[in-house]
């Protein structure tokens, strides 16, 4: 006998709670998660593919689904990784992140034949120059994607580290006591 009342009460309870939740869901409607496009706007958007995804949008989707760590985007460096980790609440280990070494393409004037192949392929129009004339790279616009170096027939386009001037000179990070004592390592 009590089996019947058990079944009856459980179904009644389930129904009543379901009804309550249905009403509550109506009042607390929330549209789709806006996080996805926010993440995508954070990524550099250069579709460079260094993260293993065909573009920034798929990388953003993978990030939101939590399939990849916050350090998947090498050009973003540790700054972007920090932002992504803060946004998604992922934990962050910055040991593997290598600061993107600032590079800039430069044309060596003596070997440039003006074949215009490089500025057709440059994604940010950083290379200027008319056909048959010597070309030049606008340093500020170059994002070091290396596409022009591959396509240049006379190898005159090479990547050079950004030259340090008084304006962009930075204090180095002091070595904390752990790195120092790591140096004088064991048994001394």
């Amino acid at each position: 006998m009590y089996v019947l009342s058990a079944i009856f009460w459980l179904t009644l309870l389930g129904l009543m709670l379901g009804l309550l939740l249905g009403i509550a869901a109506k009042y607390l409607k929330v549209e789709s998660s806006p996080i996805l496009d926010e993440i995508e706007s954070l990524l550099p958007g250069s579709q460079c593919g260094q993260c293993g995804f065909p573009g920034c949008r798929p990388a953003a989707e993978a990030l939101v689904d939590g399939l990849v760590p916050a350090t998947i985007c090498p050009p973003g460096g540790s700054a972007l990784a920090e932002q992504l980790a803060a946004m998604l609440g992922l934990d962050l280990d910055l040991s593997s992140v290598k600061e993107p070494e600032l590079l800039v393409a430069r044309v060596s004037e003596d070997t440039c034949t003006g074949c215009t192949r490089c500025f057709k392929v440059c994604p940010t129009d950083a290379i200027v120059g008319a056909p048959k004339q010597i070309h030049a790279v606008v340093a500020d616009a170059c994002i070091a994607c290396k596409k022009c170096v591959e396509v240049c027939p006379t190898e005159c386009l090479q990547m050079h580290p950004v030259e340090v001037t008084l304006r962009n000179w930075r204090w180095t990070k002091p070595m904390s006591q752990f790195d120092q004592s790591q140096q004088g390592s064991a048994l001394c």
Partner: protein
């Protein structure tokens, strides 16, 4: 005991040994031989560098304009001595990295002949605007070390009526005594400069603040200021960094300068004693800022002294004059030992901001053997800005720069108190300078990535437009071809009919 409640409490600060005695007792040495060549940087002030108007080979007189100021905040540069312009090129700058910046090289002819400029008979008849014009034309900048163009400050002072002008005679850095000697020997000139500045800013009350470890200077300034009721001379407690402008403003006027706004917006302006002296020389005698008093001191200096040196003199020459023993100089510091920059070698020129050049021996320096932070929080107690250096440094060590900014990294004045007091010798100020530099670099990278994204979108849009254009041309061509064939077919059919 009573003044514990009357005087506003000064927060934080340290008491380093003054070590001023070996330079504060002799007069300022004025017979410094004119060096053969002078290296005059175009950027000796806060703001845009000056633009040279002379050419190589020109003959110039002492005090003649070499480079004019450009933009709103800038300052001109004048010839420290008469001679011929050798070169306008990049030379190592007086900076820890000694990276090159543009300089004018002047080969002196030894005559030291002044460039004559009109002298007003009674400067107080001049209009305030005229005074700040003359101060600006003389290339005067804050000589306390901040090097902010003085004329701009005077103009800002006039805009939001200043009720107190504070003259900073605290000179709280150890070793330095140039302001002290200046006040003892040239008090009337300084007071006259202060009156001129008051006139230039249309304000009526000035306070000269002098630390109570300089009684002679205090006495001299009091005598000089007695006839003028608008100038008051007061003693302030000796505690580094009493010379920090916001600390001084809170102590003298009780007002606190909110973050992000200039002190003139709350009716207070601060000028260094040396600046007042330079204003006096500029207005009274039309002499531009061409030389300044520099303290040369430190363990490795044979004859420590205050010497009046033409701007642009190489530090190596000043060291030679003061018989500095370079072998046991462990570190060369420009400015005071607390906030000054270490220089890699002595072949760098002195500039308007050089209040002192120190040759410190190993024993005087803080030991660089770093031990782990034991959270003793001495740095929190001494920080005058009320920050928590140990937490900020811990965050910066694990690259959490935003957390460091939330803790107040942007309000750090890098006064050096925390590094001074730290028992584990942790280079805290270098952590904060690294972090601020890194944040600026990241902002620039962020800005660059936004710009490149814009460039990429424009290029893609252009590529699509070109592709669409080609498609239409293609279609048009096909249509035209089809049209021609149809016409030919019609003609052929008409011919076959006919």
């Amino acid at each position: 005991m009573l003044d514990f409640f009357i005087k506003p409490r000064v927060r934080g600060g340290v008491h380093p040994e003054a070590r001023k005695e070996n330079t504060a007792d002799e007069n300022i040495v004025t017979n410094f031989p004119i060096p053969k060549t002078l290296y005059i940087p175009l950027q000796q002030h806060v703001g845009k560098p000056a633009e040279p108007l002379i050419r190589v080979g020109d003959k110039v007189l002492k005090g003649q304009l070499l480079a004019y100021s450009q933009g709103l905040i800038s300052a001109p540069v004048h010839a420290p001595s008469s001679g011929i312009i050798l070169d306008v090129n990049d030379y190592p700058a007086p900076h820890p990295s000694a990276l090159p910046i543009r300089m004018i090289v002047l080969e002196t002819d030894g005559l030291d002949e002044w460039f004559t400029s009109p002298i007003p008979d009674d400067p107080f008849q001049l209009t305030p605007e005229d005074i700040s014009l003359r101060v600006g034309a003389a290339g005067i900048v804050g000589l306390g070390g901040a090097t902010f163009p003085t004329a701009v400050k005077l103009n800002m002072g006039r805009e939001n009526q200043i009720d107190t002008l504070i003259i900073n005679g605290s000179e709280c850095e150890p070793y330095l005594s140039c302001d002290d000697r200046l006040m003892q020997e040239r008090a009337e000139k300084i007071i006259d400069g202060v009156r001129l500045m008051l006139h230039g800013m249309e304000s009526h009350h000035a306070v000269v603040a002098i630390e109570d470890n300089k009684p002679l200077a205090f006495a001299a300034m009091q005598i000089a200021a007695k006839p003028y009721s608008s100038i008051e001379v007061m003693q302030i407690p000796t505690q580094y960094p009493m010379g920090w402008d916001r600390q001084l403003i809170r102590y003298v006027t009780g007002k606190e300068v909110p973050v992000g706004c200039r002190s003139s917006e709350i009716g207070v302006t601060i000028h260094n004693v040396g600046t007042a002296h330079a204003v006096h020389k500029a207005i009274r005698y039309g002499q531009a800022l061409v030389n300044r008093v520099v303290t040369v001191s430190g363990g490795a200096v044979g004859k420590p002294m205050n010497v009046e040196v033409p701007l642009g003199t190489l530090i190596s020459e000043v060291f030679a004059f003061c018989e500095v023993n370079l072998e046991d100089t462990a570190r060369i510091v420009m400015g005071g030992p607390m906030m000054g920059d270490s220089l890699p070698h002595a072949g760098l020129p002195t500039v308007k901001a050089t209040s002192g050049v120190l040759a410190l021996t190993k024993s005087e320096l803080k030991s660089s053997e770093v031990q782990p932070c034991i959270r003793c929080a001495a740095c929190v107690t001494v920080c005058p800005a009320g920050l928590r250096p140990l937490d900020m440094a811990n965050n910066i060590r694990v690259n959490q720069l935003d957390a460091a900014v939330d803790l107040g990294l942007k309000d750090c004045i890098s006064c050096g108190c925390c590094s001074y007091i730290c028992p584990s010798n942790i280079p805290l100020v270098q952590f904060f300078k690294y972090a601020s530099g890194e944040i600026v670099a990241r902002q620039q990278a962020q800005h660059k990535s936004e710009q490149t994204k814009r460039l990429m979108d424009d290029r893609n849009a252009r590529m699509e437009r070109i592709a669409k254009q080609q498609e239409e041309d293609e279609k048009a061509r096909i249509a035209a071809k089809a049209e021609r064939e149809r016409l030919k077919a019609e003609q052929a059919s008409q011919e076959s009919l006919a």
